[in-house]
């Protein structure tokens, strides 16, 4: 692969040259201009074979098909609910996507979801004009009752969840809280007060130290110290 001018996991800024030469491909967050590939985001470089990509370290959430998100119902229309997803664009959930129940014509839709309710849903479609459709007809998607909502940085959600959910399940296991983290940076937690606080601290810690290696271990130690319980059976998978 051409002349690579950056190291793996280096932080690059927009307009910085990443690779010289024609045999590499620009992935997401980068673009080619003549002989060179440039970064178009402030982010971390990953080299993947002949492709090079830049993963942004900041920014607001952009809806993507297949993402599981937490949203707030902010409007009810003739044929569904409008849901706010902590991003630039509102989304729409139609009647048939909302529930498997039969809804009679002219039924009162507030008995299913009322304005102000939080729901876990999945993005099914995003058009070029950023009209977003969400659905709740899948296992695990539900209305959130009780607990509370908090915000995390959308770019750090993958780190909070961990590989195959390892990080978040460790926190759930050790604190006994129920936690849902949406890809859009909204999260929900429910548990008893003390444990909720510990879990929130742990998540804050992950956000702050998301670039460190050995994060799983330091969070494990943190949780063990705070809860006074040993955590067993957590796989050691680090980046």
């Amino acid at each position: 692969m051409g002349e690579v001018l950056v190291k793996e996991k280096e932080i690059v800024i927009p307009g910085q040259v990443l690779v010289k030469g024609m045999d590499a491909f620009p992935g997401s967050g980068s673009y080619r201009d003549k002989e060179e590939i440039y970064s178009s985001r402030l982010g971390i470089v990953y080299l993947d074979g002949r492709a090079i990509k830049v993963v942004p370290v900041s920014g607001v959430y952009m809806p993507k098909i297949g993402d599981m998100v937490i949203g707030r119902v902010f409007d009810i229309t003739m044929n569904g609910w409008r849901i706010e997803l902590n991003c630039t664009y509102p989304s729409m959930m139609s009647l048939k996507d909302a529930t498997s129940d039969y809804i009679q014509k002219g039924a009162d839709l507030t008995q299913y979801y009322n304005i102000g309710d939080y729901v876990v849903c999945k993005i099914t479609n995003v058009t070029s004009q950023k009209l977003v459709d969400v659905s709740m007809r899948e296992p695990g998607l539900k209305k959130l009752s009780g607990g509370r909502i908090f915000k995390v940085s959308p770019s750090k959600v993958p780190r909070i969840i961990g590989k195959k959910g390892s990080m978040i399940s460790m926190i759930k296991l050790s604190t006994g809280c129920r936690i849902v983290v949406g890809q859009n940076g909204l999260a929900w937690i429910s548990g008893d007060l003390e444990n909720e606080f510990i879990a929130l601290q742990a998540i804050k810690k992950i956000e702050d130290q998301s670039h460190c290696s050995g994060l799983t271990n330091s969070i494990k130690e943190f949780l063990e110290e705070k809860t006074g319980k040993k955590i067993e059976g957590v796989e050691q998978n680090e980046l």
Binding site: I13, S40, S58, G59, V60, Q129, Q209
Partner: protein, 236 residues
């Protein structure tokens, strides 16, 4: 009488002392601080977010809105009347045009990116400091950008061609003065801002802009370091 020696002992192509920091405003999506000499600028970026009133929305692409604001006691003389005035409106507009070529807002239809530039202290070169801060803040907000932009003022005081004029040099009275703020895209070296106050012959202007481009490279290095540092520090 000619202006041989700069009054603060700088070389003709020497900049004032620069400081830059990224991520200074917690509630903004992206923010930056840029200080050159005694001129300080804070920039905060919000968005892309929903745009109201609705008639301003463009279905084709997102729009950029800049707001330049000098704080009431930021000048060295009298209190500046707070709020918009003709000068602030003009600078907001040229800032917008200086930053627009960097951004690719096709991805964000019907939305707006708001840039607020606040100047708590000024001593010449405030629009340049504002653009430098805004460019860093836009990158920090995670927007898709083709390039970075750096800005500096160049010009002539009497026979001398200098970069980064301070207030004393702008207000020099014993000879002709030209104050030319420029903004340079780092990669393509294209100018995105070029204004002038005063008068200058063609040859001098060309030379001044060349010096300005070299100075912008130095500013770019500071901007780059500040952007990278935010994420290194958090990791340490």
């Amino acid at each position: 009488m000619s202006y041989k020696q700069r009054h603060d002992g700088r070389k003709p192509d020497e900049l004032r002392k620069i400081e830059a920091k990224v991520g200074v405003i917690k509630n903004a999506d992206g923010s930056a601080f840029f200080k050159i000499g005694n001129t300080e600028a804070y920039a905060a970026v919000y968005g892309p977010r929903d745009l109201f009133p609705k008639f301003l929305q463009s279905p084709a692409r997102g729009i950029l809105r800049c707001n330049y604001n000098m704080m009431p006691f930021s000048g060295s003389g009298e209190r500046v009347r707070p709020g918009q005035n003709r000068r602030a409106k003009e600078i907001s507009m040229v800032t917008e045009k200086a930053l627009m070529p960097l951004l690719d807002l096709d991805e964000y239809p019907r939305s707006v990116v708001d840039v607020f530039i606040e100047l708590p202290q000024t001593e010449a070169g405030s629009r340049c400091a504002g653009i430098c801060a805004a460019a860093m803040a836009l990158a920090d907000a995670g927007l898709t950008m083709k390039d970075m932009v750096s800005a500096v003022s160049v010009g002539r005081v009497d026979d001398a061609i200098i970069v980064d004029l301070d207030y004393f040099e702008e207000a020099y009275e014993d000879g002709p003065v030209a104050d030319i703020p420029i903004a340079v895209m780092n990669r393509s070296k294209e100018l995105t801002l070029l204004q002038m106050d005063g008068q200058i012959p063609k040859e001098m202007l060309i030379k001044a802009i060349e010096m300005g481009k070299a100075a912008c490279d130095k500013i770019y290095a500071v901007q780059k370091k500040a952007l990278q540092e935010k994420y290194f520090d958090e990791g340490a």
